[in-house]
Symmetry: C2
Subunit: 265 residues, 2 copies
């Protein structure tokens, strides 16, 4: 099956996109809720956690790994590819978003929002400028958005005010595209669109990575054959609480059976 | 020395209080920043982490253990006392705050704010009613306050709005005392006082636990003798980032040498 991991439950926006666009494939999700969030942690700690999460998914029969977490994607992709790429393809959420953004951007004035770790890593700017040296990239860390989403506060006025404050420097830069550099943010897409203005194209990495996975499966029939196609999804977390279950179901818009991974943390 | 642990850096409000009131004693602090926050995690996970943190402090020579984290205090105190109390006294931040609150409350209408885990555990209400059966306790979870403090947003208007929203149900209950049931919250004490009204007495658990430790040391000269008195403090965290260092120094109001605990997580 397709194995997807995230630091918590934000990566479920990627699961939702894969289920919406590739409904036949079996999915196993692992959310490292016992150690969430990754966005405030150091590189070495994130490498260790990403590696453990990948092993958990491989042990459960994953034939494709998707890092559905921008922080882990920015820090651990190279390491995980070196460690596992001979065995299994490793997808991440950053390059697909960059590719999609450069395809649609008209003026190459690109905004990026993400956790502090993702923005500090400068990964989006590096990848964008590598492909389009004339592009101007403006990045803003938005560390409070993850807790606001996890609290289900996406429609509260305080969230709108905080978003307005975070997006203000990007508005003054007259960006034409805005990359949502955190898998929690698609939940806030509508308000972000409202605050940044209608003319800015919002790039949602969950949709971008789904397109890449879909193309890869088409081009690699042996991988396609190895994937379960029973329309089944399994959801594991390293720690279960009522709030995680509530937010997870709100992101997926359906009830799910959230299982404990049993001592991964 | 006095060993103090917390899920992250909020427990430094307790360190600050101990340094202010008992400056001669050596302190070792351990903040489990690699796995912070505890407030959203399950009981079993918190028991495991609290036990590992205590062992870390004992290995570094602690003669007194202080759980400077309400979530861990509410869930792990009994367990840690059973496990370590023959070796070492274990202090927590809840009972001292309850004791101080009941001493000063005039109408016994008491408000409690804390993380979701602390409030769900109902520990404050149980302890208050056990000592004062006629007391009325009103509890409100405030899960966004920890990330706001950790971001250094304590003076931002959004924080004031969020606090106003959180405190509103307590205002309508006409409480006369408010327990800050999370060690991060003393950082917000001034705004909390502003929003809840001047007549409400705010109970700060960092000050309450310091008083208990001070009394215990006076009454137990063999413990007093065993404690280092070189006015030295050591700060360990399971994960170091610039933001943690910045917030830690802002809480302690001085520069510190933040050391890695080396693989506790």
């Amino acid at each position: 099956m397709i194995g997807i991991f995230d630091s918590g439950i934000g990566g479920l926006t990627v699961v939702k996109s894969i289920i919406d666009h590739l409904p036949e494939y079996d999915i196993t999700y692992f959310g490292d809720t016992a150690r969430t969030p990754y966005g405030t942690k150091s590189c070495n700690t994130i490498l260790k956690y990403a590696s453990e999460n990948t092993q958990f998914l491989l042990d459960h029969g994953a034939k494709i790994i998707v890092i559905a977490c921008n922080t882990a994607s920015s820090i651990a992709t190279k390491y995980l590819r070196q460690k596992y790429n001979n065995i299994i393809p490793v997808f991440e959420v950053i390059s697909p978003a960059v590719k999609l953004c450069l395809k649609t951007s008209t003026k190459n004035r690109i905004g990026v929002i993400g956790t502090r770790a993702t923005i500090n890593s400068n990964i989006y700017e590096k990848k964008i400028v590598e492909k389009q040296p004339s592009a101007k990239v403006f990045s803003v860390p938005c560390p409070l958005l993850v807790p606001l989403v996890e609290e289900g506060w996406e429609k509260k006025p305080e969230t709108k005010m905080i978003l307005k404050k975070y997006l203000h420097p990007l508005k003054t830069k007259q960006i034409d595209s805005l990359i949502l550099g955190c898998t929690h943010y698609p939940v806030l897409k509508q308000i972000i669109q409202e605050k940044i203005g209608k003319r800015v194209k919002i790039i949602d990495s969950s949709i971008a990575v789904t397109k890449e996975i879909s193309e890869y499966i088409c081009q690699n029939p042996h991988i396609c054959k190895s994937l379960g196609k029973n329309n089944k999804s399994h959801f594991f977390v390293s720690d279960i609480t009522d709030q995680f279950k509530k937010t997870a179901e709100s992101i997926l818009k359906k009830n799910i059976d959230l299982k404990s991974s049993g001592g991964t943390s």
